[in-house]
Structures are given as C-alpha cells and as structure tokens.
C-alpha cells in the first residue's frame, strides 16, 4: 500500500511540477512577447485606439463601421491592398518607407562616397527617408532608423478586392491595375464621387511566351492572332499563318477578378466581359511567370515587372503598327499608344474626415507623394520595369495632393 501511495504522491508532485513549469513558461513568454523581433525595437503599430474596430470575444460590431481613423495626424498603420501588378511598386515603396533610412546610407536614401540614390539632387535633405516625406504633410519626424512617423503595410490580392476594400473603408489605399469603373462595374460619375484616382505609373501589358516558342522563331504576332489564341479558336502554334512549330499552345490566364485580366479583355478582346478560353487561370503574376518558364508552348499576358529571360515579351502588330518589346525601337510597348498600355492606380476614399472633405488623408498623401518625385519614379516604378509618368502627368497628380501640404 505504501508503494501505491508513494507512486500516487510521486504523480501528484509531478503534475504540480508540470503545472508550475507551464505557468512559469507562460509568464516568461508573455514577458518575451512584449519585445519585438529582430530589428530595432519599434512596436510598429502605434495602436492608440484611433480605429473604431475594437472588440472582445463575444462583442459584436456594427458592420462597416471599421473606419480607419484618418482624422488629424493620426499615426496608425497605413494599409494598402490590391493588385499584384501594382504590388511591386507599392511594396517596394512601403519597405523603403518602413526602413526610414538615413541620408548617409547611400544605397536606399541619400548619398555617400559609394553612390547616391536617383533624383537626390532634387531632394538634398538631412532628414531620414520617411521623415522627409511625412514632414511635408505635417507629421513629426522621428529621427529613428526603422521607425517611421507611421508604418505602412501592403497586402496582396487582386485589383477587384483592393477596390472593394478601399470603398468599404477596410484599407486606406486600394491598388488596382484596372480602372475602378471596370472592376466594380460603376459609372464614371459614381467613381468620381466616391474615390480619388492617383496614378503612379504605367504598365505596358506585354504578351509573353516561353523560351521554346522564341527559339522556334516566333517573336511577333498580330493582334488578331492573339485574340484568336485567347478565345480558343487556335489550339496549336502551327495553325497560325506563317508559323511552322508543331506544339500545343498552353494558354495561361489570370484570375477573373484581376485588373490585368479585366484590362486585357477590355483592350485586346474589346469588352471587359468578353469571353475567353484559357487552359489555366492563376491568381497572381508571379504564378503566371513560373508557369511560363516551366512549360513549353506557353503564352500569357502579364505585367512588365515579371518578365525575365525565361519569360519573354513578344512584339505585337496592331493594325499595321508593330510595337516592339525593346525600349529603343520606334514603336514600343512602353509607349502610351500601345493599345494594352494601362495606368496603375492607387485609389483613396473620399471621406468627411479628410482635410477639406477631400479624397486623401494626410498619411495617404505623404505616402503617395513619395512616388511622385523623381526618386520615387525611378526607384519604385522604373526599377520595376514599369513606365514612369511624363512630367505633366506628375504635375497633375501632385495637384491632387497640394491642398494637404503643410
């Protein structure tokens, strides 16, 4: 009997030991989790209750009330979401902004003995990156690396989702590679009354093919041929006139809510609702790029930022004019005359809380303004292989933000 009770007491004490160690571990972890991760110790989200969307486990919320608290110079997280085409621009900008690099850096901001960033001559400031742009709209500089006046984050989904999210007030900026009128099926008037359209760059939407197609000598197609391929009328490369390559065509499309898909239907097939027959649909440009490089006989439409040496844009002959993929030709896919050329939009919501009842809050304005400088156009737009805006368009965009400048 004593054996049993001893064993029982052993078990009880073991259980107690387990429980206490569990509690100790939890307490320690709670202490630990109060710290942030590896870079610079900023807790990053400034959660000062500015946003109205708060709850406890069984609390309920009036839907749609999640206003992002733009009033005044709130320093809460600036959220953007939407198109995977605009994402490279937006995300690169966001990561530069969050880094708040000092001017001594030379690689991301400012200049030093090793080099300087593009467009630095127009800026020439002592302030850190985000501090400089934010202070133009009334924010206090933090003077701390990796700790901007307000942090930013960019989500990745589709143009349609981004448009819907910004209209519903769930994010501050909606990225879209198709016009909101086509994405959400709105009239121009409604769009103008609800959102403000900030264009930050242009995409010459290329049609790309895989390596083996180029090797077979196909580096140019007519608009009519492309249309026939994407509407399922042609199944094999050899069925096209003048082409002698016997290979089934692997037609890759984008998801049906993406701006790239909408813009392609609009510009190439004539109507945003035009029927298309493809072999596979992918959600983002990156997947399309991967499929094109992994398969043979592939053709797809995507965005300029994702071309590479295994994903090659071809020249398109639209009614006599041949638009070449290289920048030095007479007519290129980088021209605005190229029928598939499209604006890249960052939409903001017109809200009463914004200064002057306008369409942009101060945080969005500070962030967007960064893209409209030479620095921004070169680093974020051009270095992603997109088309920077001509000067007069930049001026027009800056007009939309001038009211808010401090």
């Amino acid at each position: 009997m004593s054996d049993d009770s001893e064993r029982v007491s052993d078990r009880v004490s073991r259980r107690k030991f387990l429980m206490t160690s569990g509690l100790v571990g939890a307490a320690g972890l709670a202490g630990c989790s109060g710290q942030s991760g590896g870079d610079g110790g900023s807790s990053g989200d400034g959660g000062d209750g500015g946003s109205d969307d708060t709850a406890t486990p069984t609390e309920a919320e009036a839907s749609g009330d999640g206003g992002s608290g733009n009033g005044g110079s709130s320093t809460s997280l600036l959220t953007a979401e939407g198109s995977s085409t605009v994402y490279p621009i937006s995300n690169k900008g966001s990561s530069y902004w969050n880094s708040n690099a000092p001017p001594s850096d030379g690689e991301y901001w400012g200049s030093n003995s090793e080099g300087s960033v593009p467009g630095w001559s127009e800026i020439e400031t002592d302030m850190l990156l985000a501090d400089y742009f934010a202070q133009q709209f009334g924010f206090e500089p933090t003077e701390q690396r990796s700790s901007p006046p307000f942090p930013t984050t960019v989500g990745l989904s589709h143009s349609g989702t981004g448009c819907q999210a910004v209209v519903d007030g769930l994010v501050d900026i909606g990225n879209s590679s198709g016009p909101i009128t086509a994405e959400l099926d709105w009239s121009e008037e409604k769009a103008n009354n609800t959102v403000v359209d900030h264009v930050v760059g242009r995409d010459g939407q290329p049609v790309v093919v895989s390596n083996d197609v180029i090797d077979a000598g196909i580096d140019q197609l007519t608009g009519e041929q492309v249309r026939a391929i994407f509407q399922g009328e042609v199944g094999n490369w050899s069925e096209l006139d003048g082409i002698d390559y016997d290979q089934e065509i692997f037609v890759i499309g984008r998801a049906e809510g993406s701006g790239t898909d909408t813009a392609f239907r609009l510009n190439m097939l004539g109507d945003a609702d035009a029927p298309m027959e493809v072999d596979t649909r992918q959600g983002q440009n990156q997947q399309v790029a991967q499929l094109v490089s992994q398969n043979e006989g592939a053709i797809a439409y995507m965005a300029l930022a994702f071309t590479s040496e295994s994903v090659i844009p071809i020249a398109i002959d639209f009614e006599g004019t041949v638009y070449e993929p290289s920048k030095d030709a007479e007519n290129t896919i980088f021209d605005s005359a190229y029928p598939l050329n499209r604006d890249l939009h960052m939409y903001t919501l017109i809200e009463e809380g914004n200064p002057g009842g306008g369409g942009t809050g101060p945080r969005e304005a500070a962030f967007l303004n960064m893209f409209l400088t030479t620095f921004g156009q070169v680093v974020f737009v051009e270095q992603n292989n997109y088309i920077p805006l001509p000067t007069k368009d930049i001026q027009a965009e800056k007009e939309k933000l001038s009211d808010l400048m401090a």
Binding site: G37, D39, G44, T56, E61, S95, T153, Q284, Q287
Partner: protein, 540 residues
Amino acid sequence: MAGATQSQLVEQETSGTDAVAAAAVGVSAILFVLSILALFERITLTDPIAGLPTVTLLGGLLVVLGGTVMGFGVGSRLGYVETDPSTSAGLIASFAAAVPWFVVGGGVASETLGLGAAGGLVAGLLTGGLAFVATALPREDLGSTVPIGALPVLTGLVFLTGTIGPGWIWNLGWEQPASFTAEFVVPTVTLFNALFAGWAAAKAYGGFGARGRHMGAYTLVYLNALSIVAFLFILVAFVVVQGIPGVLTGVQVGAGVGPESTIFGLTFSWPISVPFVMNGVALLNDYQGVLPAIVGTFWLVVGAVLFAVPLGVGAAIFLTEYAERGRFTQIVEIATNGLWSTPSIVFGLFGFAFLVPRFGNQKSLLAGMLTLGFMLLPLVVITSREAMIAVPDEYRDASAALGVSRWQTIRSVVLPAALPGVVTGVILGVGRIAGETAPILLTMAGGTFVPGGQTVDVVGGFQFTATPPFVANPELLQATSALPYQLFALITAGVGLGQNVADPDGFRWATALVLLIVVLSFYAIGIGTRYYFRRQLRHE
C-alpha cells in the same frame, strides 16, 4: 516402436531449389529498385548502366526472372522440386494473373494491331480469360507460376528486341493531348512485373500450398509497410535538405548576438541568432525571415486551444457523467463525428459568413482563432470522451461509497485519471490545426511580407475603452499571417521578397521546413506523451 518412421518436422537446411527461388525474389527486388530509380530519373533510359543500355539490362533481368519462376513451377510439377502445392491456385491468384494479361492483350490489340477501343476490349477479355483459366485449372505449382512468369518473359523480350525502346511514344489521341512515353512506361511496366513475379517467386520459395501463399502475401505486405515508412522518410528528408540552407542563412552563435528579451526583470540577449525565424521582411535587414508568421501561428494555436479545450472537455464530462445513454447522446455523437469529418474549407466558409461580419467585417486574428477552435472542438470532445470512458467504474463507485458528491468525484477522480488521454488528444489536435491553411485563408490572411516590428502583439494590446464593449484589443482584430498561409502566399506570389533575398526558392523551402518542424514537433510531443502515459498505466 515398430514401423517408426522418420519424418522431417522442421526443414532447416536451404536446399538448392530454395536458393533458386530466393534468387528469383532477389532479382525481382533489384528490378523494383531499378524501376523506382528510373522513375525518379536517377537513371535514364538513354545513359547506359554498367556498359549496357538500360532497356536491354532491364529486359535481360526480366527474362531471367520470368524464366526462373516458370522453371521452378515446371520443375515442381515434374517432381524435381520438393513442394506442397494445393490442387488449384485459387480465385485470387487467378484474378491477379488475369488483370495484367487483360491490360497487355487490350493494349496490344487496340494499338499495335489498330483494332481500336472495342477490339482492344474484346482481345483483352480473351487474354485475361485465358490467363484466368491457365491459373485456376492446373495444379497450383504450375498455375501460379507459368502465367505470371510468362509476363516478365514477354516484357523482357519486348525490351530486348527494341520494340519498346527509349524513343517509343504512344499518343492517346485525345482532345486534350496526352501520351505514354517510354520514360514512364518502361519503369512502370518493370515495376509491376517485378511485383507480380516477386510474389510468385515468394510463393515458390514457400513451397506453394498454404505456406506458400502465406509467404507470398507476407512479402507484399511487408513491402507495402516499408514503402510507406520509406516514403515518409524520403519526404521529410527532402524538405529538410532543401530547406536547411534557407533556415540557416546568417546563423550566428556566440555571446550577445541574438535579440534581447526580458524575463522577470532580467534583460539578456540570446546567444544564438537565427535570422530566418527572428526577422520579418524589411529593407534594412541583412537576412529576411518569417517571424510574423511564426508568431501568428503561435497565437492562433493559443486562441484555438483556449476556446476549444474547456468547451470540449465540458461537453465530454456531461456526455459521460451526467447524461444517460439515449437519443440525446447519440445525436451529439453523430454531430461531433460529422463535425470532425467536415472539410477544412467549409469551416473557412463558415468563419467567413458567420465570424467575419461580427468582428468589424474584415479579416482578423480573432476570427481565425475561433475558426480553428471550431475545428479542434470535435477532436477534443472525442478524445476526452474516450479518456473518461476508459476510467474504470470502480474509481467512481469507490468515491461514491465514501459519500463524495458527483461533481466532486468528477473533479478529483475522473478528470485527473482522464487527463493524460485528454492532453494527448489536444496535442495531436493542435498539430493538425497548426498546419491548416484553408480556414485561415478566408478569415485571417493578412500581409505576408511585414517587418518584424509589425508582429502582432496580443498581450500588450489590451486596453479599456469608454464605450461598450469596455475591453478592447485592436491587435486581435488585425489580419495577420500564419505559417501555412505564408507558404501558400509564397507559392502563389513570390514577389515582395525584393533583392534582399538571394535565393527566393530557398526561402520557400525554408518556410516549408519551419512549418514542418512546428507541426511535426507537436505530433512528436503528442505521441511521446501517449507512449509515456501508456507505460505509466502499464506499471500501475
């Protein structure tokens, strides 16, 4: 003692014929391995092995194998080999012989002879029927070796004569084109031949009859089990090998290299720094990492456990202790089992339709926690019930005899005794939900390439507000990332890694490896605790 005969009770020495049969099994094993290697493209059909073209080598081995098997059967029939066959090979063996011959006959007729699908079907039935009869009618030693042995002989001859060579291709002529290429057909056909002939050879080794069938079946079953384990091993090893370089980029070991943390007022820095799990994705990082996703997974699991375990254990207590077995308990059982089999995407849809509108109409960590809690709940109920039912009634009776009330009995006798089972079940359940992507896709998916500073900070986020509700935590309402979602996002959209990541592919594999480590460690702990508690129980 008159007429005492000496009968051999035990066969101890391996006679020459046994060695032949064993050799046949050995050859089939070699062919099995070779065909697997060929499928994985470790050996190709064009490069020669040991000086011989691959197809010729395979063909030769196949002929040898088939010949040996057939020879053994014939030898046994003619009495040269000591075996113990039954009168017929049986239905199963006949069926097993008929199927491959049906395929062969049908394929040859419809393609080589060009008779089309109908002709192929008829011819296939003919050859299959012939094989069936040839297996069932003669004595077992002939029936189970000759038809099956003829198969590798035929295949081997086809390979040796070059009828199917490295350039062979059979276009199926479908609208969505597909063809059988030699790279696929040769290894696969070899594989199946090796399996069939190996089975027949094992039967032969066992001397046919009941013992022979026993040997044959055991060979296949052992092979099956070992392949499953080997598959698991190869899978995990593959992910580890691909992922380790990514996880270990920038690792530093030494005093003071890691991040700082404060426990009980003491600040110290960890002596090891693994950037992949300690950083987020930020421009000024030397190395990028997946810390926000790891933290997200951690909080998801904590929230789901806090929600599901009390609920599930409470329900199990009621079902086993308070309720009487009847309609109600049956309905709850059916409901729980149904809930447990529900696909994870349906839980995601439910979370999207039910939870998301109630938490600010946007994706949030809380919605993800609750959805995963719903998924964990049925498992907790089922395991807790089993654990509590397993507690012997004597415990409860003894407690009642002492005058203890029912609830007290449950609290101090049943629950502690059932605790090991419950804990094990919870850990295994956590392992399952930690790896789920679909539910969090619709309820929680947030930014995937966020800097470490933007990691969700639940504990520090609690605050009081003046309006109802009076407690708030904006952190819980943020859409965050979690490890499985991170991997999904990386597969579908590798962008965002920027130029800082030298090897995006390695980053992906490293994320997969971290996810695998997290999930498998839960499973390992769960299995370990179950083993530990079972040993405890056995010592009682």
